[in-house]
Amino acid sequence: MPEEPRAAERRPAEGRPPAGRPAAGRPAEGRIAEERAADHAAIERLADDLVPALIAKLSASGLGEIEVGEDRWTVRVRRPADGASGQSRRSSERPSRSQPGHAGHGHAPGGFEGHRSARDGGGSRTATHASSNGSGPEGGDGSGHRAGDGASNGHRVVATSPAVGVFQPRAEMTPGTRVRSGDRLGAVDVLGIPEEVVAPSDGIIGASLVEPGQAVEYGQDLVIIELAGRPAERAAERGSAG
């Protein structure tokens, strides 16, 4: 496994991050070539066949979500929460980012890595939601707002940028606001056309990782969503990490 290239963490507004800064959010173990080839084949099949087919099936059925798994892969396609019924455009036009269970998989600026980590994160995958697998570097150490480059743990997920442009949050979406999966948090302006930023999951808005009006790149972490519920489990994890 090569060293993580430093550029992986670069943002348009920053310079080069300090050399040798450890990259976050990647499974560390090396992988053999066949595994990678299998991953590539699976990714291609996912993008070309499986995900569109699942979406079609989901739209045609009255189901809330569909999950299929094969070998090391699991894909879950879920309808937006009830409150967001007006947003069917997202599922039909932009399949690869429209399902919370897909977009929120693993750390955000690397959808494919996210898929891989679904395997590496194994056990925790089904705990709450597909986006909550434990591939991130932080345990539940309560270290505040460090989002680990979009890696999500059991407590929070991160809404990421759907495009390269300028981010504008919605004024009413302040920290502490309760949101449902699919709610609009703001928009990224691309040459005057707003691309919606949506909550990847039900929860409570936490810290914003970028300022209003700031330039963002595709996949960049924008807003933390603290997952609601399961307080007992959260407390337990916090205790064990301390």
């Binding site: 496994m1 090569p2 993580e4 290239p5 430093r6 550029a7 992986a8 670069r10 348009p12 310079g15 070539a33 990678r36 080839a37 590539h40 990714i43 291609e44 993008a47 690869s96 980012r97 600026p109 690397g110 959808g111 494919f112 495009a163 390269v164 442009g165 300028v166 691309v190 040459l191 056309i193 330039a215 963002v216 790149e217 595709y218 996949g219 960049q220």
Partner: protein, 456 residues
């Protein structure tokens, strides 16, 4: 000169443009898709910005994503490389509308040359010989059959848009023509979004020779000699060299001089390439123009010592060319080998995977343009070009000898590459004697070619 350039491409050409920017003292931002996050151009860039997912339609081919990235990073120009948006006049126009400069011909010039069929007529009227063909775009099957009868078989069906051999088919009879039209239309529509077709008479046993030109905004144009790209597999170039072994010095000079004269008259601007077919008797016929920097541009750079990408950027910035035809001296012989991740044993099927080890060759006259490094994972989403080995020597024979050594040194472990086909070429009499024609590999069959080389 520009302050900061957005490089809207990937792989070896993104790296090549980055290097040109550095030598010009211009800052560069590499725009990349999620699949290229760990790539070498992204690692080496002054600044990099993710513009979309692996799917090129939403990243490298997305005009809004590319232009938005240029704006938010404070760039004043966009270099499109080759492929992707490099010859898209609509994109060039939107770039201009956002007060950015497209590094290539201006939008109106790209538009003028967007149709291969119209370009053929335009340059034909300006004194370049063209292959007899249909009178304009084929309106329907009946028109095609009538034009086919008039021009004479065998014929080549060609899409008016695009390139790269897509939607092209050779037909020997009216029945074959009729049967192929729909296939070609749908291939052309899928590849270029335009299903206009035209016909050209098929010339057997031709060589592909192309002339590199550069024209500045002030109408001053030069040619930088020619390249021979006759070694092809299914209309895809795999090896290019210069000068062409097919023509005498006088014939080469006449070809290049006529090409540059016609293209300046046609109002072209920036670097470009005019492609010709050369028949057995040395007659040449213009077939199409490429309005971009080409994969094989290093052949010309080694022969002339001129940095073509820097020249392209300077011209786009409004600078005069700064040298005249008599300043350009072509020396020696250069050969470029395209190193592709594809398996010659399995019908050149593209291969993806991880580069376990990578050792580029070296020595006098050896240049390797590649984005490989040990540990790099070649993504399966894009073309299979891993890099280009370009070798220069004072004579063709010496260049071939150096090429053998360099190809032997090149080590790419973990991936299957097409290096065996290059070694087979360097062992084949047809190549050594300079007798390659564009259909030779397909006619002989690549596997037969490899087997013959192994026996020799």
């Amino acid at each position: 000169m520009f302050r900061k350039i957005l490089i809207a491409n990937r792989g070896e050409i993104a790296l090549r443009v980055l290097r040109a920017c550095r030598t010009l003292g211009v800052e560069a931002v590499v725009a990349y898709s999620e699949a290229d996050r760990d790539s070498l151009p992204v690692q080496l860039a002054d600044e990099a910005i993710c513009i979309g997912p692996a799917d090129a339609r939403r990243s490298y081919l997305s005009a809004p994503a590319v232009i938005s990235a240029a704006i938010v990073t404070g760039c004043d120009a966009i270099h499109p490389g080759y492929g992707f948006l490099s010859e898209d006049d609509g994109f060039a126009e939107v770039v201009r509308a956002h007060d950015l400069t497209f590094i290539g011909p201006p939008a109106n010039v790209l538009e003028r040359f967007a149709s291969k069929e119209a370009t053929r007529r335009l340059l034909g009227s300006l004194g370049l010989p063209t292959i007899p063909g249909s009178n304009g775009i084929l309106r329907d099957d009946d028109h095609a059959l009538a034009e086919g009868e008039r021009v004479g078989y065998p014929l080549l069906i060609k899409p008016a848009a695009g390139g790269g051999g897509k939607g092209m088919r050779m037909v020997r009879t009216p029945r074959e023509l009729e049967a192929s039209l729909n296939v070609c239309r749908s291939e052309a529509r899928a590849a270029f979004g335009d299903d206009s077709l035209y016909l050209e008479r098929w010339l057997d046993e031709t060589r592909h020779v192309e002339v590199q030109v550069a024209v500045d905004r002030y109408g001053r144009g030069v040619h930088l000699g020619e390249r021979d790209c006759s070694v092809q597999r299914r209309h895809q170039k795999i090896l290019e060299e210069g000068p062409t072994p097919a023509l005498s010095l006088e014939a080469r000079q006449e070809l290049c001089t006529r090409a540059v004269r016609a293209i300046v008259s046609a109002g072209y601007e920036n670097v470009g390439t005019l492609e010709f077919l050369v028949d057995r008797d040395g007659g040449f016929y213009f077939i199409e123009i490429n309005c971009r920097i080409q994969v094989e541009h290093p052949v010309t750079e080694l022969l002339t010592g001129i940095d073509l990408v820097a020249t392209q950027i300077r011209i786009a910035a409004g600078e005069p060319i700064g040298f005249s035809q008599s300043d350009i001296v072509t020396r020696g012989h250069a050969i470029e080998f395209r190193i592709n991740a594809e398996d010659p044993e399995r019908e050149f099927r593209p291969a993806a995977g991880v580069v376990e080890r990578y050792l580029p060759p070296g020595g006098p006259g050896v240049r390797m343009d590649s984005h490989l490094f040990a540990g790099y994972e070649v993504p399966p989403f894009y073309d299979s070009l891993l890099g280009k080995l370009i070798v220069w020597a004072p004579t063709r024979e010496a260049a071939i000898e150096r090429s053998r050594v360099a190809l032997g040194e090149l080590l790419v472990e973990g991936l299957v590459t097409n290096v065996p086909i290059h070694q087979a070429l360097l062992a084949s009499e047809a190549f050594l004697e300079g007798r390659m024609t564009t259909n030779l590999l397909d006619r002989v069959g690549s596997s037969a070619f490899l087997a013959a080389a192994a026996r020799a």
